[in-house]
């Protein structure tokens, strides 16, 4: 009897939660449509348990190594949400991205249009313009600073068009509050080659979901393995970093 009541209570809370989300602008999730293959654990941290499209995600990077890792992670996400032939736009004023590498993350590099501008405010202007166009799937922008007002403008643009925005803040000197739906940080981690073979192994990152609106922030270790994400359990991960043996080959 007690458990029945508790069940009913949980059900009610769940229902209320969904109503609140609807009021906040989250569309009810389509059942069974996950956007990130292999990242169910992370996707569960988002409201309704679905990675939100049509929103702006913010990624903090401080070093070029972090940018490289973040670029890889975003490409992996994009390969999951991009339909065949879908178009992405990459806006930057200091781009070092090497397009052929994206193929390894399941993206077709010729489906990306790169926009290179000289000034940082032009990056924002181009990003906003691109986010308003509903014919493209996603916009990735490399921006140094992002104020609340600027992020709000981007958020308003995506709310109408349902384009997904990824902001890579490659020089985040001050972490200000923004209107972005989530804030991530992707840091490279020592990889582990399969079965102790020598060599570098698969790309592995520590993915920190530092802030997520109406969700649960978290920290995971993620690997890109054979064309999809894989979340690594903590114990196995600890085992590999303690192994300080130089392997070369």
């Amino acid at each position: 009897m007690k458990s029945l009541l508790a069940n009913e209570k949980n059900f009610l809370i769940d229902k209320l939660q969904k109503e609140v989300l609807l009021l906040e602008g989250y569309k009810p999730a389509t059942v069974g449509k996950l956007h990130l293959p292999g990242l169910q654990t992370i996707e569960a941290a988002f409201p309704n348990g679905i990675f939100p499209l049509g929103a702006v995600h913010e990624f903090l990077t401080f070093e070029p190594e972090h940018s490289a890792a973040t670029g890889g992670f975003i490409s992996g996400i994009l390969s999951g949400i991009l339909s065949p032939g879908g178009v992405c736009i990459w806006v930057s004023n200091c781009r070092c991205l090497f397009p052929p590498a994206l193929k390894a993350f399941g993206l077709q590099p010729d489906n990306i249009i790169f926009i290179d501008v000289h000034r940082e405010r032009d990056v924002l202007a181009a990003t906003e313009e691109a986010l308003k166009c509903n014919s493209i799937t996603a916009v990735i922008a490399e921006i140094g600073e992002l104020t609340f007002m600027q992020s709000r403008r981007l958020q308003l643009a995506v709310e109408a068009s349902k384009v997904t925005g990824f902001i890579m803040r490659n020089n985040a000197r001050r972490i200000t509050s923004t209107a972005c739906i989530s804030r991530w940080q992707v840091i490279p981690q020592p990889g582990a080659a399969a079965d102790g073979l020598p060599g570098v192994g698969y790309p592995r990152w520590q993915v920190a979901l530092q802030r997520v609106r109406n969700g649960r922030p978290g920290n995971w270790t993620v690997e890109w393995r054979a064309g999809k994400f894989a979340v690594i359990e903590e114990s196995r991960f600890r085992l590999t970093i303690n192994k300080h043996i130089r392997q070369a080959g």
Partner: protein, 496 residues
Amino acid sequence: MYIWIPHLLTDWLEVRKPELRGRPVIIRCRQHGRVIISAANTAAKKQGIFCGMTEADAKAIVPGLQAFDEIPGKEAQLLNAIGEWCIRFTPTVAVDMPDGLILDMSGCAHLWGGEEAYLKDLHTRLHNRGYDTCIAIADTIGVAWAMARFGGNGSIIAPQQHTAALLQLPPQALRLEEAVLERLRKVGFRRIAQFAGIKRAALRRRFGDILLQRMDEATGVILETINPLQPIAAYEERLACLEPIRTATGISIAIQKLLYQLCTRLHNEGKGLRYAVLRCYRVDHQIISTEIGTHRSSVNTDHLFKLFELKIPLLAPGLGIELFILEATIVEDMPPAQEALWRITTGNMESAEVAELIDRITGKISGAGISRYLPQEHYWPERAIKATRSLQEKPGTEWRCDRPRPTQLLANPEPIQVTVPVPDYPPMLFIYKSQLHNIKKADGPERIEREWWLEDGELRDYYTVEDEHGQRYWLFRSGAYSGNRTSEWFIHGFFA
């Protein structure tokens, strides 16, 4: 229509130096060691000076003669300038060296309310700018030329009446050489009517082919063509305004009208616009222009107007714009758009929305570089991709992913200091930007040879290395090991 400017050079001098007005002025040039007069103004001619006279003789007749040296090529320059100015009267203007302009005014005169008003407006405007002109309108270039010079100023020959008008003129009106004219004079022909009825064979025998050719050109038997100053653009729309336009709203209405006309025409012919130039002719004779480009041929008036709208603040209308010309300089075939039953939400590279978005961004942000990358069959990393501006171009070859490639590639490899235990082994540590990285794991080497048929230089041995923090780098050693020199190491990229 022919405009003869008899005193082109001296008129120009008088415009430049108003104090010369009304005084005898000549332009002199050296010919075979003599200084002779090449042009004289009306005041000088009245006192008996003619072209070809030596300067010394002229100075003897008129003591206060103002003489100026000839500037080579000045006539052509002046005629070109006047001709370009005349484009407001008709799009087809040609220069007739050394002192005339030919205007094809078919279909233009009604805008001025008839040929007389047209001629008068042109004459007055040129007169106000200081140029004395003799203008004639006729069916053929030859007769217009003749009437301007010999038929009195402002003569308008009615359609089909040009032969009759020509017959009354002296043989000089046929644009003949001096030798032929001399022969005609010897025979006693004073007017064209006197020999126009003679058999052609007889005329040819006596005076050569040129006389018959000139007569045929004048009567319209042979069609004479002109070289317009500005070749007529295939896709051009003009909008002349009754009142000069000065406001942004006015300009945008003009652009919308022109775009509508142009796009309708392009659409009917199955073409699309890729590049367009808008030229605005201002009241103060300045021409201001702006241009737009699209990434995909388009006849979407709204979209093209949006691109122009961004440029309107850059147009300075001054005292007002009296004529707008919109020209599609680059036009491409456009496949007919398929009517879609339902709206596809996600576009691809071919969709018009994406192309329009790119156009908007390039219009809004000056200097924005738009590029896509296609694979190329080269192992050399810098050459592995090819940038293209086209949105439609398909990759000619597959993207390779069998070799590890970094997500971030430095534009130029940066030198690093390394410690290497054994030759051809990956380094133990490296210093980049004065930071020490201990290498824990490494892959490689992947040897990439320089493409000797394209450039000279050292080969590269690439290593994928991971430091103690798990950060992955792409390093290479330039050149193979050799005993007598230390090899150089570089960092070229960052792996994800």
